[in-house]
Subunit: 117 residues, 2 copies
DNA sequence: TCGTTAGTTCCGAAGTTCTGAACTATGGGA
DNA sequence: TCCCATAGTTCAGAACTTCGGAACTAACGA
């Protein structure tokens, strides 16, 4: 198990952020980390809405979020703690994350029935 | 050649917008349509930076932007005219497009050497 | 009608994502 | 110390997506 890789904030690319958040599952995970401040384990988000995401997929989603520069993961004993890097990303790309999160929220409000988020 | 399909603005999904703009080529095309107000033909954007994009890829990129609800295309004789749907998208997801476009602009300013946009 | 220009569609190659199975790492209890 | 349980990662193959050349359609002008 190699250690986690987190890009420096100046290496964070807008396309990576958009790609990471263009998946509704990942956007829901990120929103959860945002609102909770810190999510203690993958298992805490393993069920988004009514759908269970396999561990391996979840691990991959966290990796994508991490490599996009959106979250910071640390191992604490057997678990992983994930913190959002909102402040850093906000400094680099002002308003971006807020606009994306509120777009998903707006869509959840108007759409037919969206399980996640 | 089937006619162009444009989603109603209430059917536009944030994930489709993020996916469409998570490709730097498409983001550059969209930025070009935005700044020009209207782009007269695919050929007008066929060279983004120093890289020539094949016609078929360009056609696909326009299709993705169209189906994401970001642009409106009309055939005028032999050419296609593309307008941005900024106002509609802005009403539905306030601040989203501005944040994305300015994130790419910020990145172009700090990054090593970005050809497009 | 023919040639040109503009764009779309098709289809195979290349790349990406998803997921179950096997694996690694840590902590706790006997 | 050993063994087990829990948490997460890695691997590999299947499924899906994207790319790009070739062939096609559609409109226009000579």
């Amino acid at each position: 198990m190699r250690p986690f890789v987190h890009p420096a904030i100046e290496d964070v690319q807008p396309e990576a952020i958009l790609h990471a958040l263009s998946d509704p599952n990942r956007a829901a995970i990120f929103a959860k980390i945002m609102t909770a401040g810190c999510v203690e384990a993958c298992s805490a988000v393993s069920a988004l809405g009514d759908r269970v995401i396999p561990k391996s997929s979840l691990s991959m989603h966290f990796k994508v979020l991490r490599e996009a520069g959106l979250i910071r993961s640390e191992r604490h004993g057997v678990e992983m703690r994930n913190h959002s890097r909102w402040d850093e990303v906000e400094t680099r790309f002002p308003g971006l994350l807020a606009a994306i999160i509120s777009a998903y929220a707006a869509d959840a409000g108007t759409g037919p029935c969206r399980s996640g988020a």
